[in-house]
């Protein structure tokens, strides 16, 4: 006898159509709860609103934004943020890719190294900055001592406007390269081996394989890694605030540090919110572009497979 003594289900109606909504709505709702403050922020950004001047609070439309346009410190913020983001993401990507290539083979030692290399990522940036500050202290700092050995006795690290950017970028690289490395390593190891074996048999030069085979196949991973890092980097706060509070001068005044000071030091809610809205628009635009690219690359990759 067949085993199909199946009960007839009561509902003739298929849950299938609603299922994806049922699955995704809880997480959406959880995040939507967070949207309410977001809307409040957007409204604040349209107000002249300094907590220390309660009577001066008024709706001023895009007044805060318009004042940015003529404010050199705003453009400085834009410039510093772009330099910081480009430098960190660029170097981390190259370095992360290089390390991932070195660790590509699935050996135990490589796996262990890849986990050990994640240690910096596991060190909270707020605490890591404190340690880097000590290590770059001209008196007790081991790094200052090390550079003095190679003749750089007057290297001032984060204290000198010329080297401050270099210093925080260095810390950022130290903390976040492992993130890119691990994503790209995962990508490299997931690539199908066939094209590489074929190239090796055909004696195709390594460089050619790298640029024409590895990189294109890796691109969805590169895009993902870049996306997360780029958007984190342009929003950098912990490291810069802990190391220099945006100084020396205004040399490291990135968006979130500026907005943090506007709110927590100057209690200027309107200006702080407007600055953050500008940052949000930038990140939204960037992420939109990236996600589109990501979808395109994924489809192409799946098409190949």
């Amino acid at each position: 006898m067949s085993d199909f003594a199946l009960p007839v289900p009561a509902k003739r109606w298929r849950v299938g159509r609603l299922l994806p909504y049922l699955l995704s709505l809880p997480s959406l709702l959880v995040c939507v709860g967070i949207v309410i403050p977001f809307v409040a922020s957007a409204i604040y950004s349209l107000q002249r609103y300094n907590l220390a001047f309660p009577t001066g609070r008024a709706f001023i439309g895009f007044g805060n934004y318009i004042s940015f346009l003529s404010d050199p410190s705003f453009w400085n913020t834009v410039e510093v943020s772009i330099i910081y983001t480009a430098a960190t993401v660029g170097i981390e990507l190259l370095l992360g890719l290089a390390i991932a290539m070195l660790l590509r083979e699935r050996t135990f030692i490589n796996n262990v190294i890849s986990v050990v290399l994640m240690l910096p990522l596991m060190t909270a940036p707020a605490l890591a900055s404190l340690m880097w500050k000590l290590m770059t202290n001209p008196g007790f700092g081991v790094l200052s001592w090390a550079v003095s050995l190679i003749g750089l006795s007057n290297f001032k690290w984060a204290s000198d406007p010329h080297t401050a950017m270099l210093t925080v970028v260095l810390v950022d690289i130290w903390v976040y390269t492992p993130f890119i490395m691990i994503l790209l390593l995962a990508g490299l190891r997931s690539l199908p081996p066939a094209p590489f074996e074929a190239a090796q048999l055909d004696g195709v030069p390594g460089r050619f394989v790298f640029f024409r085979v590895t990189l294109p196949m890796l691109s969805p991973f590169i895009v993902t890694a870049c996306l997360f890092r780029l958007l984190d980097s342009i929003q950098q706060f912990d490291i810069i605030y802990a190391m220099t509070q945006g100084g020396p001068g205004d040399s490291l005044m990135v968006f979130q540090v500026g907005a943090y000071l506007e709110f927590f030091q100057y209690t200027n809610v309107g200006r702080s919110a407007a600055l953050l809205m500008v940052l949000w628009v930038i990140t939204y635009f960037l992420s939109d572009r990236f996600v589109r690219q990501w979808h395109k690359l994924r489809e192409r990759r799946q098409g190949h497979a």
Binding site: F53, P54, G56, S159, T244, G247, L261, F264, T267
Partner: protein, 479 residues
């Protein structure tokens, strides 16, 4: 405790016998001096309770927001006395200074009723007061039903009382007419020189007397001491860089932060006096300051002095005090000296920082919280902190006059009291009170950083700074 001892304590509290007499008689009773202090403390508590209904809010819990500071530690150590006195309970959240004020701003700006009272500086009340976050304490101070008769607010140093008192009108003087008492002073600090005696002895130099002299000696230390640099001052991009030694010297050179006319403020950082002083200060840092000065907060300034990495600091007197304590390499080698940076000046003009206690307007237990503030700023607790703990710049004249406190300081921290005495008379807040204090001083610190890094000439930098400040004042409608 024997009845005799108790009577003796009561007599001492009532002022019927002198301190010396009390000491002599209590020794005769066979009670050690330390135990006697405890007895005294206990009887003070009882004396306070006798004349005022401290038990009125019995059972209430007060929640405090505190900064991680020895002053707070001193208070926490004495909380049991408060509990015993009032039958109230105290809970507190304590945060490191790096984030403390952000935490206060977050709590108050969200109108949180979580905290009833909190620690603050005077500058912060210039924001918090106008924002409507604080309770004006005058209503409590002048209400005999709410304030104990022996509280004696007048016993607090007048400059300190004035510093926490402001009308809210930008530019109006502190403690002037219509002023509200936004906070009650509790412990403070003023700015003088603390130096490493070993280094000074080794180089055979004497403590600096004015700024040019300081620069010369500091430069010598940087050159000749074989490692340590000359003078530590703060340099981070923060208001905190401006208010200690820097503003004290700035004032000493006759410069002011603002001119006030017709209720409008105008920046005065581009004055000739200001430029002259800035030139010297920038030179001092360039030639004898810490290499990465621009990241220095008072922690690094203190750390370098304590570890023997700097010859001296021009910063809080209490910072020099702490660095003389155990656990630091240079403990016991720190000397103190007052300074009037301008050779022409009559004496020091130290700016001050006052840790004060304020009452949140969003508190649900304001009267009870006031009881707490009243106790924490009372003579009794001030005395406890000064004698037993590190509340070393207490706010009350009577505590400074206390022999036990004086003896203790003189014993372990030679020169500290003398320096205090020389600096105190003209020590007060030299900033013009206005709500944009943090904007102005942060910009100021950033400008100073650029001058020290030689990105901009001093005179030009100050002109730019004045323009920036004036624009911000205009935008806010007060310039």
């Amino acid at each position: 405790m024997s009845d005799k001892a108790r009577d003796l304590c009561k007599a001492r509290v009532a002022g019927r016998i002198s301190r010396r007499e009390f000491g002599k008689r209590i020794t005769a009773l066979g009670i050690g001096a330390a135990a006697a202090d405890g007895l005294l403390q206990a009887s003070y508590t009882r004396a306070m309770a006798a004349s005022f209904d401290w038990m009125k809010y019995k059972g209430t819990t007060v929640k405090l927001l505190l900064n991680k500071h020895p002053y707070a530690d001193a208070m926490i150590a004495d909380l049991d006395a408060f509990r015993a006195l009032t039958g109230m309970d105290v809970k507190y959240d304590i945060f490191p200074e790096d984030v403390y004020f952000d935490k206060v701003t977050a709590a108050l700006s969200s109108r949180s009723s979580q905290y009833d009272a909190f620690m603050t500086g005077a500058y912060q009340t210039w924001q918090y007061g106008p924002a409507g976050w604080l309770v004006d304490m005058n209503e409590y101070l002048h209400d005999a039903g709410k304030t104990a008769p022996d509280y004696d607010f007048e016993d607090m140093l007048p400059n300190l009382r004035a510093s926490d008192s402001w009308s809210g009108v930008p530019g109006a003087p502190l403690g002037g007419t219509g002023a509200k008492q936004w906070a009650i002073p509790w412990g403070f600090e003023l700015y003088s020189i603390s130096y490493n005696r070993n280094i000074f002895d080794q180089l055979k130099i004497t403590p600096p007397e004015n700024l040019p002299d300081l620069i010369e000696k500091a430069t010598k230390i940087t050159k000749d001491a074989g490692g340590p640099y000359g003078v530590g001052v703060r340099g981070s991009r923060s208001w905190a860089t401006i208010h200690p030694g820097f503003l004290s010297g700035y004032t000493n050179y006759g410069a002011r932060d603002f001119t006030v006319a017709d209720g409008k403020l105008k920046s005065a950082v581009d004055s000739a006096e200001s430029k002259a002083f800035h030139e010297l200060w920038v030179k001092m840092i360039q030639e004898a300051g810490p290499k990465n000065w621009a990241t220095y907060t008072w922690y690094q300034v203190g750390q370098d002095l304590g570890a023997g990495a700097s010859g001296m600091i021009y910063d809080a007197d209490i910072l020099g005090y702490f660095m003389n304590g155990a656990g630091n390499k240079e403990a016991g080698h720190i000397g103190y000296t007052p300074i009037a940076p301008n050779p022409e000046a009559k004496g020091p003009t130290s700016n001050i920082w006052i840790w004060s206690l304020a009452l949140s307007n969003f508190s649900n237990a304001k009267d009870a919280a006031w009881y707490f503030i009243q106790w924490a700023t009372s003579k009794q607790h001030d005395m406890f902190g000064a004698r037993k703990k590190d509340l070393v710049d207490p706010v009350r004249a009577s505590v400074w006059a206390d022999k036990v406190f004086q003896d203790r300081i003189a014993g372990s921290y030679p020169g500290y009291l003398e320096t205090y005495k020389a600096t105190a008379p003209d020590a007060k807040i030299y900033f013009t009170p206005q709500p944009l204090f943090f904007n102005v001083t942060t910009e100021w610190a950033a400008a100073l950083q650029r001058m020290v890094a030689k990105e901009v000439a001093v005179s030009e930098g100050l002109d730019q700074l004045a323009a920036t400040i004036n624009r911000e004042l205009r935008d806010a409608g007060i310039g």
